[in-house]
Symmetry: D3
Subunit: 292 residues, 6 copies
């Protein structure tokens, strides 16, 4: 057994359970005990640390962590100098990435960032907001918001910069989006020194491959169906989503089995089309990992 | 992107989580926010509304909803004029449908509905109960029960009409079933006008196909095994549950792989029988959808 | 329908949910009602009873239950005379079995069991501890602990005998392991008379097969990949984990599909190796049951 | 010990805990077990039943209960013929009674009930609403709402009749109040026959006195203070809220102690005034019961 | 500040919150942190330990604790040699003490303990049960029950010995009480050596006085009223519950104020009687402590 | 009714429930609805806003709020220019104020702030920490911590500045306190302009008086006792805690009643002393407000 260790930071808090679930799908089972701040992981080469997403890039930069998963937004907000290994999309319901948006009350006279000259803005991302204002040549006061930022836009400040996925929470708070500052997705990042260490780099790359395989698998499904051989070519021509299928003969004369991997989100349009094209016994099955 | 919309009612409350899970299996991911009464769905052609199961048929009938999922019992209780698209079984543990039953305390002298002449009955389904009594030529007072109906049977009224699946709650309340008024399962229903609109009808039919495919898949599994070719015919003859399997040659001489889809509930009897018939390396795997 | 019944004891409490989930995977769906102490199971030949793991072996021995699932530790602690049908590993995170260990505070002078002569030990397994002391020729007072045993080691007694899986709770309580008394895993046990009844024995053996199949499936995954035929032999030689794969021709000339079942815990090393060996389109999929 | 019993109905559900707390303050300690539908009460002359507020008046009218606590609204909705023993205000935060109001969306063209001719209204109080429409000479369809009525006003119906205390929930749902149908407070009601039974009537009256004493005490506090005798008359003249105080001499020459019972809601204005009038050592203390 | 310490054991688990609340009423504020097993108490002379009620007497006997609060039942079950400082009643709803009772199913043929010869009994109090059987000359097998004992009576054993307060849980489980083995109330107990230490004994006695004062106060209330002097003697004669009242003159001629402390449970009969006897302005107020 | 309004900020989050409870004791009943961010208060002259304690002073300074309750620490951290109306102690268990302390791991070589030259410190109070370092002539990197700061001290940084009341959480995390930067208690603060408005100032002062009265009352109790007149002087001399009591004659010859208000924390020593001095019938009762 190796006694080398890779110190890996995962985001604590609202994303914690989802991240641990993805890690399990990638093959790394983590259990968090309320009595210990060091989670258990069934890989002796890993040490897991749970740290707020806002701070992970900072500790990776300083080398306290070899690598970690955090949002692109917080890497930028912290201005952390780290190696970005890859991008990972975690959320299934909405495939839209998180956006940091400039918002004002629905009935505010503010129409563009220019109208904020001399005003006051509350946000959790003070640095990103200041940089954005500077780029737009606007001088305004930016204050750090400890939370519940949406409520502040109505009374306490003139505008806010807040994160949103679907926009429904903004709408519920009667806020209007003026501009988008940044679009963010989760990233796997590495400390620059760790990335130069060949053992660590290989370990990180393997984890990235498995994690990507697990995430790919969440967005994809396996599909099998039977079809008369005479209808096969027409099927494959008209349905390019069925890319590169495995075709095998069935014992029943003149029939073949077709099997492939497709994006889950096309299933709801594909299955009716397959039926129309003559497919029978269509089976959709789940996947754990997809690695091309 | 289409800007047509189908307004779809799902049952709020105790069935809500199960229904949303089934919709997700069908390919429609819904997220309910506590801050908005309109759930998000990842299909721009759908608008989801969560409404009590008791009321859905009424709003479908009036056209406020194009279609919805609700129980046969509430369609009947409301006397709603709607198009029934299909029947769907949601519950896995007990495949028995819900039954509305006439109950009395275990030690009540009431033996049949005839004994209720002039008595008082509490129920959530007042119309169904009145119709039932009329059919049986019995005159009795029927009063609407706001809940906890089972407890009332012992002191407050002479009998109740209550819903049950396994009967265990009735038994725990020491009640005896006198008669069954109605057996109910979930239905997908459509407004008559919406059903005449070809775009809406096609959309509803597609959703019905996918939902049915997801529900079928819950009750079925994939099964693969290896067997010596010489034992194959005997296997297929003696085990008709293995209907229409895919048989393919293995690289090992004289052996074939057999693969099929079967009802999950026969697995516990089938697997021992397969072993006896010489099958090896039996693998059961889960399915997302099954569309014949 | 048979009117024979097998009375089956499952462990109540912390293992209850996990056990019911495994039973469902084996094909036996159980639902526990808060209003009835007899759980519902969708098999008319079974009667389920939920009983504390500590007591199951006693009731199996006396014949109140035909069989049950409990830990090897409690069978030994109770000294129950039962037939052991098989061993089952339930926990996924840590595949390590539960161990009953003799512990003292980190800074205790106690180095071995011999140092406990005349001391006081708290434990939930009084009989196992007494037998262990006797075997080591040590005389010490053993007292039953009703819980929170770890805390007692620091003030109330000189040592404890406690159960642990990963040791992290002991470490959090600043305890040091002196010795291991017993290693325990879940067992399916049967009453000796029930085991002689051919109907019951067959039923128990079938359940054991299905449960084992479900547990096997949790630790395994299906793996499929495409590879150029010219690389196949090299692949199979260098990667013995790919035991006995199914190889089939692809429509693409010179390429084959390879499919097999492997232990999940090797996936994280195997997939990178497969990529290196030229495999493409690697798919990992979940299994419900694996029966050899 | 008497073996007479008074059967007393308390409202189950959202008001249950508050009612049981008030009963305890009145001197009747009730404990509700999840395993029994008959609550325990430490008075052998009482039998408590927990029944939905909507139904209590019906069961009191029919004599299944001797008396009960429910809202004036549900007595009216049910049209129950019962004896009203008294009115009791339970809620402390807002002393405003519950109001059933006719509501429409903020931007609805409906300005008065007259505008609802031929429309559709959803409500939990169907009878009250029909009576109200009739009185106003309006014909509209009234349908029973099983809950979440506020949401329906925007899409499913033209107006709703809903209950509110502070109006904040209506405002959050962007609804506008058109009219008030009924103002409701909790009532203690009795069956007419029970009220004629002298033992039962005396028991009910005693409970009413104690309950009223407990509720009075919630809205009142005791107040003591010291003041120089020469300032006493001025104090009592200018502060009539200090009705009928007890005045006693203090050991300190020229000073008296003043003690009285006042409404809690005047304290926040009274204490500053008392300070200005020369009072010292002002003490406010809580009360359990106040019976004049 | 003294650096002497009294180590005090409080019962962990179901009684924990109630005990801590009583201690706070006695003047000792304890806060339990989930991160530390040593609770904080605002008295530097105390060290609090939370230990299962079943074990406290054992650790007091051995001197690991100076004193503790536990039930008489567990002192007897453990046969602990400790000094009993006093009895304390904690529960308000039901003033009945806990009873350990011998129970059988309602329809069991067992009518008395004699009928248990050769049978099997499950209980948490094995020693008490064995002693009881011996006293009655009955030989039966007694086995330790880890919980859910009530359910076992129906299938797994012939009888149980279980604790009950109101009997309602036994009734819900359809059990019949055959005999009562022991009646138990909470006790404050001390280690014999600690009791001989004058500092510790004084500390324990002070705590006992304050705790008793707090518990007395829970069962009592203060009562004040005004009455015409001419009615005073009649009032005091006819209502002996008003023992030893304080009578003071009111400023209103011919009227006096009467104040006393009474048992809360008589209030519901006393207040109506006081009204009848001419009392006015009756005020009941709560107490923190009552020390005679 | 006045139509002036005072906008009042209360701390959201962990202190929210305690603050609302204190406000209720002061006579201002607030109810927070999950559906509205503006809490309801039963005083038409008040508007309540719930804002994080960290931010309140900032919004008071800018005039968005007229006044608010927050900690001295956050006023200092923000450097807010506000009028401090008064100090209020909220916590009962530990009367110790919150302290911001510099901490290192127990086994760290750091002995004083001087040892942190060139190191890295994590804290939520970046400004306070920088000012403290500057005052001590130490240059170190200070980084904002989003939470779980205690855990960081062991790996991620060299020291932390964290808040503590009892120190027990620091001890559980094996941290050692090196120095105290600031001691903080809750303050009522006002905007400077609002303080100049006479109506607002009077309103704020009245609220401060009532709130102080309620907090005083939490730390105090009323005490009454009877004593023989001949023992009275001795009692009052030896027990100066009984300051300025009310003494009144009892109907029983030679006895007096003594009543006073004392600090609750002396009760546990005072009551035994009173008993020794001959007091009888000692009654302690709770207070709502104490205003001198």
């Amino acid at each position: 057994m190796s006694n080398k260790k890779l110190r890996f930071g995962l985001p604590k808090g609202s994303l914690q359970d989802a991240t641990i679930e993805k890690m399990a799908k990638a093959g790394f089972n983590i259990s968090v005990s309320s009595r210990s701040y060091v989670p258990y992981v069934d890989d002796d080469e890993l040490e897991i640390r749970l740290i707020r997403a806002q701070e992970i890039s900072r500790y990776v930069e300083h080398g306290y962590l070899d690598c970690g998963i955090t949002g692109y937004d917080w890497i930028q907000e912290n201005g952390s100098k780290v190696h970005e290994v890859g991008e990972f999309l975690f959320s299934k319901v909405s495939r839209r990435p998180a956006r940091w948006v400039l918002c004002v009350p629905e009935d505010s006279p503010v129409k563009s960032v220019k109208d904020l000259q001399g005003k006051r803005i509350a946000t959790e991302v003070v640095n990103l907001t200041k940089k954005y204002l500077k780029k737009n040549g606007v001088q305004a006061e930016v204050e750090f918001s400890w939370g519940a930022t949406e409520v502040k836009a109505h009374e306490l400040v003139d505008a806010i910069v807040e994160v949103t996925e679907t926009g429904s929470s903004l709408k519920a708070n009667k806020l209007r989006i003026v501009d988008t500052l940044l679009t963010s997705t989760p990233r796997l990042i590495s400390n620059h020194e760790s990335w130069k260490d060949s053992w660590k780099r290989k370990k990180i790359e393997t984890m990235a491959m498995l994690l990507r395989g697990a995430l790919e698998a969440e967005a994809k499904v396996g599909l099998k169906m039977n079809i008369a051989r005479r209808n096969l070519d027409h099927l494959l021509e008209t349905l390019p989503a069925l890319r590169n299928p495995t075709v095998s003969n069935l014992s029943q004369e003149g029939w073949v089995a077709v099997e492939t991997i497709i994006d889950e989100y096309v299933v709801r349009e594909l299955i009716p089309a397959l039926k129309n094209a003559g497919a029978e016994g269509i089976i959709e099955y789940p996947l754990n990992k997809v690695v091309y």
